[in-house]
């Protein structure tokens, strides 16, 4: 089906392009070109490039081609008068030959070129730091001495950073420490492979801090109404826990079961809803250790819960839940995806292109402004006219 669609639309595009080329009237050419652009926009859609397809229609087929048509009509230049003596007769066959050669070569390159078409490339690994160490106001996190996040306050997470693939020692320091000189609070070896999204969660207390690496899944959930949840057991009591859906006390449902201390649960998908969440020792439903009431969980997010305790001044402990919600990654090619790229990695090129547009605008004004571009008589100036050539040169031209 898709292939047939491709063939039909492709044929339309080629025919439109050919018609554009052979139309004597420039208006027709422009209209055929619009048709061609529409086809290409369709191809963009087929290629998951929704945003680009949108822009193609709106900006290209719309704005730019309107500009073309406007200029054609303005100048009344629909047709160029045929020449009495065509000047470059040789050009037509030569161009066609070159075109055929080019086509042949391209085909050759596509068929025989050793282009790696098999393996889709995964995105770079992403990493962030989460601070849940009791008794340490803020931490810095380093991967092999390179800073991932600095000054992360308790219960907060840094933003995700792209990181080069490889094996690292993740180290956690009190905020402001010198990684060269000071000893880290805790260390943990991590392996960053392409496509992985890692949260380095620092848990425990100031005396015995620990690092837990949680692999999260930020991709879109297939089910539009679902979201992903991960839980980490950081309870001082060091018992394994169950996390239970307490929304309806009648039908309790364990979301994750038997999570030992310092470990993360599997990633589970749950429906979007308002939940009451309870935490119980593993296998028991009597003692509710802690819980979250009336939590609105939205679809298209990834949630990380860290169940921990904080020591108070009177040496008692209070339960604390670190609740981190991250938006899932936007779908490929969507406006959100392209926008994210434009405003993160491509900010500077984007600015440059904007500047280019500004310059083009000013240039267009300058070029077409009558007063700024006064008519000049064209005079031929040759520094050194070889003898016998003066007559063959065209004299003054112009209006």
């Amino acid at each position: 089906m898709e292939l047939w669609l491709f063939i039909i639309i492709g044929a339309v595009a080629i025919i439109a392009a050919a018609m554009m080329l052979i139309s004597e009237n420039a208006i027709y050419s422009a209209l055929f070109l619009i048709l061609n652009f529409a086809c290409i926009a369709f191809f963009f859609l087929m290629l998951n490039a929704a945003f680009v397809a949108m822009v193609q229609i709106a900006v290209y087929a719309g704005a730019i081609m309107v500009l073309f048509l406007f200029v054609i009509m303005l100048l009344g230049a629909e047709r160029v008068l045929p020449e009495a003596q065509p000047r470059f007769r040789w050009l037509t066959p030569a161009a066609i030959i070159l075109a055929l050669v080019f086509l042949a070569v391209s085909t050759l390159a596509i068929i025989k070129g050793e282009i790696d078409l098999t393996r889709p490339k995964l995105e770079e690994p992403m990493v962030r730091a989460v601070h849940a160490v009791d008794g340490v106001p803020a931490v810095d996190v380093y991967l092999d001495g390179e800073q991932v996040a600095r000054d992360v306050a308790f219960g907060e997470a840094s933003s995700f950073e792209s990181w080069a693939t490889g094996r690292y020692d993740a180290q956690i320091f009190p905020a402001g420490a010198d990684p060269e000189a000071d000893d880290p609070l805790a260390e943990y070896p991590v392996n960053l492979v392409p496509g992985v999204t890692l949260s380095l969660a620092a848990i425990g207390n100031a005396q015995e801090p620990e690092l837990v690496a949680v692999t999260e899944d930020l991709s879109q959930v297939d089910d539009k109404d679902a979201l992903r949840v991960v839980a980490i057991n950081a309870l001082h009591g060091r018992t394994a826990i169950d996390v239970v859906d307490d929304t309806d006390s009648g039908s309790r449902r364990a979301l994750v079961e038997n999570v030992p201390y310092g470990k993360a649960s599997d990633v589970i998908e749950i429906e979007e809803d308002t939940y009451d969440i309870g935490v119980y020792p593993a296998g028991s439903s009597r003692t509710r250790l802690m819980g979250i009431e009336d939590e609105d969980l939205e679809a298209g997010t990834a949630v990380l819960w860290i169940f921990t305790e904080q020591r108070q001044d009177d040496n008692s402990y209070t339960s604390t839940i670190v609740n981190l919600e991250t938006d899932a990654r936007p779908p490929f090619g969507s406006p959100a995806h392209v926008g994210q790229l434009l405003f993160s990695r491509y900010v500077l090129p984007f600015e440059l292109v904007s500047l280019l547009l500004l310059v083009a605008m000013i240039g267009a004004i300058v070029l077409t402004h009558e007063r700024l571009a006064p008519r000049r008589r064209f005079e031929r100036r040759l520094a050194n006219v070889p003898a016998g050539l003066e007559q063959s040169l065209p004299g003054e031209t112009g209006d």
Binding site: E2, L3, F6, G10, A13, I14, A17, M20, L21, A26, S29, L33, N36, F37, I40, F43, F44, M46, L47, A49, F51, V52, V55, Q56, V59, Y60, I64, L67, F68, V71, I72, A77, R79, V80, E83, T92, A95, A99, F102, L103, S106, T107, I110, L117, P120, K121, F332, H337, L341, L342, V353, A360, M361, G363, A364, I365, L367, E370, F378, G398
Partner: protein, 104 residues
């Protein structure tokens, strides 16, 4: 991304065909506006290839590049059409073969 029925080779081939048609337009037509349109066609062919490769490699950079190409094309059209208008004012013609002041 689900696997597609249409393989990337076809897209690239289509892109190449459109590109060469644009080239022919540039080479063979004398109307300056048409030449411009042909250039647009070539740019679009390149865009198509970019989008195809972007899907192939699951990399959004291709889309950004398409976006930039479009922006540059817009700038180019603005300046190019301004040039054509300016030339038309002086020469009353947009036949590209009437312009050969740079002859050596």
């Amino acid at each position: 991304m689900e696997a597609s029925e249409v393989s990337i080779e076809l897209y690239v081939l289509l892109s190449a065909i459109l590109f060469i048609m644009g080239t022919m337009g540039v080479l063979l037509r004398r109307n300056a506006i048409l030449i411009f349109m042909s250039v647009e066609l070539m740019l679009n062919a390149a865009n198509l290839a970019l989008a195809a490769f972007a899907r192939q490699w699951g990399n959004g950079d291709g889309h950004v590049m398409v976006f930039f190409v479009m922006t540059v094309a817009a700038a180019e059209v603005a300046v190019g059409l301004a040039l054509i208008v300016a030339i038309f004012r002086t020469k009353k013609s947009i036949d590209i073969d009437d312009l050969h002041l740079f002859r050596g």
